[in-house]
């Protein structure tokens, strides 16, 4: 396991920084505790794979297992739609970053607001800024980034991981803590 320091070395942040996820059970516990979690998936999910599985398939499984809606940004939505997955909503990355600052807003009519947001699939610097918006202006939201690289502005982030370790971590968090919700 590599160190919990920004992947792009200049992207240091302020006095608080993300806790490194040492055990994947942390993610399971956060999901279990959350009232209305949300998964925000960017376009790198279209090209990334975990082992042989496309990240789109992975997130469909993740969403279904944990019963978490997905916001798919840019053209990522197309891939979800093509697979017949209907729990994905289309917003731009900047749009969803803006909306999540509105404490009233939620992706679908349910008791809100979102209190846990998980992110994946953006250029590193872009996700860094999106998470900065949330840490500064959405104190009601905890954030978890599911990418390989440490994101200091998240509440929880993997440290910079080797691909193999990241694959293992992703697999582990597919299993709900204490059974499906």
């Amino acid at each position: 396991m590599m160190r919990a320091e920004p992947w792009q070395s200049a992207e240091v942040c302020g006095p608080t920084k993300a806790q490194g996820i040492k055990k994947t059970a942390v993610v399971g516990a956060l999901i279990k505790k959350a009232k209305y979690p949300l998964l925000v998936v960017g376009a790198q999910a279209l090209t990334e794979k975990t082992r042989k599985k496309s990240m789109i398939d992975y997130f469909i499984e993740f969403s279904t297992t944990h019963n978490i809606p997905i916001v798919a940004t840019a053209n990522t939505i197309k891939a979800f739609k093509e697979k017949g997955f209907d729990n994905a909503y289309s917003y731009g990355a900047m749009e969803i970053t803006g909306r999540l600052q509105d404490h009233e807003w939620k992706v679908a009519p349910k008791k809100g607001p979102h209190d846990l947001v998980m992110t994946f699939g953006f250029p590193y610097y872009m996700e860094w800024l999106m998470l900065s918006a949330l840490i500064n202006f959405s104190p009601h939201i905890k954030t978890v980034t599911l990418g390989r690289y440490y994101q200091p502005h998240a509440t929880w982030s993997f440290p910079n991981l080797k691909k193999q370790n990241w694959n293992d971590a992703l697999k582990e968090i597919l299993t709900p803590v204490g059974g499906a919700k």
Binding site: G14, E95, M130
Partner: protein
């Protein structure tokens, strides 16, 4: 309202009004000194806000900022601007001066816009002062035949119609005053609220457009540039357009003046055929506008690769966007550097007062790496003489490492990933180096294709590998062939062109005007710009370019080897692709929008900013795009568009401007306008939905562009055309029929005929009701017949 002009004893113009009744209220004893001269034979009535001060248009800004709320993404949660600090602004904490993170974030936006405006304005000031020195204060300004409204932005903002260099100088006096005020607002303990920082950023963006317009007007008028010429010449561009048999001079930056002295000296002394001058960044555009034989090497991102290639016998830098370590890089390939601008003396010795031959001797012998020269005539002579003497000497000097050397050096790679971690685009540099260990330089060449030339990878490498040079070497076969045709900057848009397209644009039948501006900080190469322009030109949008983007779009060729400029006309018309010129020429794009209001709608321009901005915002489907926005200048350019109500899209690196201006389509109350005919409050669809937006990728840019071209005033035909494009692009890139179409349908006639069934179904599902089509305005005083009031 009674407005008077008078000449003061110092020949300054004074605008005086005993009582000025405006939509902003009534002002008594208004008096503004505007410079040295006055236009007393222009019969257009003066509008309510000539030369607005920092807060005069504040209520207009607040209207926009209430609809398009800033969404901040701080790059730093601390402030260290004064000795009270550092202050920790996390979790709602305030700094010692009382500022919170929102205020500080907005302050950074204003700081960036101030810096950008200052760069353009100082350039403009230098240009105008220099031309006054050369040609005299009464030299007449012109944009060429077919242009009566020569400086629409300046007329709109200041109420002045600059006809001479002296009048242009007076306009700059105003701009400089405003910049001083907006800059001062950044000081500790001045402005405190985000909305007023933002308003000031809009103000300085507006001032920036004036400064840019004056700079381009001055150079177009004095230097023989194309004047509003849709058929400005096609010129050769790319590294291979430079002739290695000649002494090569590379000019980098934005201010063409020094380079004109080089070209003039060469022709006056009969050595023009011995030298080849090429430019990088906007100086490239302007040397080619000055002399079509000058070469355009490429955008800003190519400066290091060209310097490293070792071709340049002399490197000349003027101002803006030059590499600040250029002397170090040029020294390695024995290219002397001549710094020509007071903003960027680069630590070089000032040899202005020395004998030319002594300076040349010191440069050619390598005794000094470069010089700073303040005298333009001397620059011309020193550069030409040095280049000609250096040329035979330098031919013997190798510059890039050999492929064998790269393979040998690569063996010691520590696989530390530092190069990747330093790369703004996360390029797989390390993997490419590992492939080079095996003698395979293909991956390094692939990195070159998407590289922005920043050299951060090599400055991070613990082995001190010159990684960028390795890429340049690996891709040698490609860039040595790099040659493409671009259209020289045409300058302003003719009034006659506006007469033809004004109505179809305002009615929406020409679905939009797209302005590609700015720098080369691309996330994955520049192809996206070309593909975007081609697609929208095909869809009968008008596509206008300026700056580095205007070069990048030309690099992509079709099957017949033709660039987009060879395929498409340069007129301001549906389906055309135009190049207005260098960065300062992008002011002509705002100028075109302003002229639509004046020529087609016959609205008065003079000192009438709010009304015209309101007109453009509600009627002209213009969208600014900067796929590779990098600089603070790009920030101030964007701010100028924001104040005009024109939405701006930036590429993913544009997130680093750290603040978006986002509309909320889901909040009906945000989309209320006045119907100027009836005085009623009317809800319109969310168009344009956002005012500043960073897209994640090309696909999102395609869809967002079509969507942001929608305006409340579209006629039924115009709306249905715009919706067809939006739907089609959405289906292509997002893979499904957009779910918000019903919100854009006001009447049955808005529905694109071929999509009737689908849209009807959506309307039914959403309980659609017919909506009025207002004569939309955000400004209550503009309701006809006095039904509106102040607001």
């Amino acid at each position: 309202m009674k407005v008077e002009f008078a000449l003061t004893e110092q020949k300054r113009a004074r605008l005086k009004a005993d009582k000025l009744d405006t939509g902003f209220g009534s002002f008594r004893n208004v008096e503004v000194t505007i410079g040295k001269v006055v236009d007393d034979d222009w019969d257009e009535p003066m509008g309510p806000t000539p030369m607005p001060d920092v807060t005069m248009l504040r209520s207009w800004d607040h209207k926009l900022l209430t609809r398009y709320r800033p969404a901040y993404m701080p790059a730093c949660q601390l402030c260290c601007l004064c000795t009270f600090g550092k202050c920790d602004l996390t979790s709602g904490k305030r700094g010692a001066c009382g500022l919170d993170i929102e205020g500080q974030s907005a302050r950074i936006v204003l700081a960036a816009a101030n810096i950008g405006c200052a760069a353009h304005l100082a350039h403009s000031r230098h240009m105008v002062d220099h031309m006054i020195h050369e040609f005299g204060p009464r030299f007449e300004l012109t944009q060429g035949d077919g242009v009566e409204i020569e400086a629409p932005v300046t007329r709109l903002v200041t109420g002045i119609r600059p006809r001479t260099l002296e009048e242009a100088s007076a306009v700059l006096d105003y701009c400089e005053t405003q910049l001083t005020h907006t800059l001062s607002a950044v000081h500790t303990g001045q402005e405190g609220s985000w909305i007023d920082f933002e308003s000031k950023a809009f103000h300085v963006g507006m001032v920036d457009q004036v400064g840019m317009e004056i700079a381009d007007l001055a150079q177009i008028s004095t230097l023989g540039f194309p004047q509003s010429d849709p058929e400005a010449p096609l010129v050769e561009a790319g590294i291979s357009s430079m002739d290695p048999k000649k002494a090569m001079i590379l000019a980098i930056g934005h201010n063409v003046v020094p380079a004109t002295y080089i070209m003039d000296y060469a022709s006056e002394t009969g050595v023009a055929d011995k030298i080849d001058i090429g430019g990088i960044c906007c100086t490239a555009w302007d040397i080619a506008r000055y002399d079509a034989k000058a070469k355009i090497v490429g955008p800003i991102s190519w400066q290091l690769r060209f310097v490293r290639s070792g071709f340049a016998d002399v490197v000349v830098v003027d101002e803006q966007c030059i590499r600040t370590d250029i002397v170090e890089h040029a020294k390695k390939v024995h290219s002397p550097v001549i710094a020509t601008c007071d903003k960027s003396a680069m630590g070089l010795p000032d040899r202005t007062d020395d004998d030319v031959d002594d300076i040349v001797q010191d440069l050619v012998s390598g005794k000094i790496a470069g010089v700073y020269l303040r005298d333009h005539a001397k620059i011309g002579e020193v550069v030409v003489k040095t280049a000609i003497k250096m040329h035979p000497k330098r031919k013997k000097k190798g510059s890039l490492p050999s492929k064998a050397k790269i393979k040998e050096l690569a063996q010691a790679c520590r696989q530390c990933s530092e190069c990747i971690r330093a790369c703004p685009n996360n390029q797989p540099v390390m993997d490419a180096v590992l492939a080079a260990q095996e003698g395979n330089l293909g991956p390094l060449a692939d990195v070159y294709d998407e590289c922005i030339g920043c050299a951060r990878c090599e400055s991070a490498c613990p082995n001190d590998y010159e990684l960028h040079s390795w890429m340049v070497k690996a891709a040698e076969g490609r860039w040595k062939q790099e040659s493409f045709m671009v259209r020289s900057g045409r300058g302003a848009i003719k009034d006659t062109e506006i007469r033809t397209v004004g109505q179809p644009i305002v009615f929406g039948e020409i679905p939009g005007v797209i302005a590609h501006v700015g720098c080369a900080n691309y996330p994955d190469g520049g192809r996206a710009i070309h593909d975007h322009a081609e697609e929208f030109a095909k869809r009968r949008f008008i596509v206008v370019f300026s700056g580095c983007a205007a070069m990048t779009v030309g690099t992509i060729k079709d099957d017949e080897g033709k660039s987009i400029y060879e395929r498409r006309p340069g007129t301001f018309d549906a389906g055309s692709v135009l190049n207005v010129g260098s960065c300062v020429a992008n002011s002509h794009i705002a100028g075109a929008a302003i002229k639509i209001a004046s020529i087609f709608a016959k609205r008065n321009l003079r000192g009438n900013y709010e009304e015209i901005a309101d007109y453009i915002h509600n009627r002209v489907g213009a969208v600014g795009i900067s796929w590779g926005a990098m600089s603070q200048k790009a920030a101030s350019i964007a701010a100028g568009f924001w104040r005009l109500g024109v939405p701006v899209i930036v590429g993913p690196h544009g997130t680093k401007y750290r603040r978006m201006l986002l509309g909320r389509a889901d909040k009906a109350e945000d989309w209320m306008v006045w119907d100027a005919r009836t005085g009623d409050r009317v809800q319109v669809a969310a168009g344009p939905e956002h005012l500043f937006y960073a897209v994640e990728n090309f696909e999102e840019m395609m869809v967002m562009t079509a969507k942001l071209a929608i305006r409340p005033n579209d006629t039924a035909k115009g709306r249905s055309i715009k919706l067809s494009h939006y739907i089609d692009l959405h289906e292509t890139y997002m893979g499904y029929f957009p779910e918000d179409i019903h919100t854009y349908i006001r009447r049955e006639t808005d529905i694109p005929i071929t999509l009737k069934a689908k849209i009807h179904a959506q309307m039914k599902e959403n309980k659609w009701k017919e909506k009025p089509i207002p004569d939309p305005t955000l400004v209550r005083r503009l309701v006809y017949g006095g039904k509106g009031g102040g607001e």
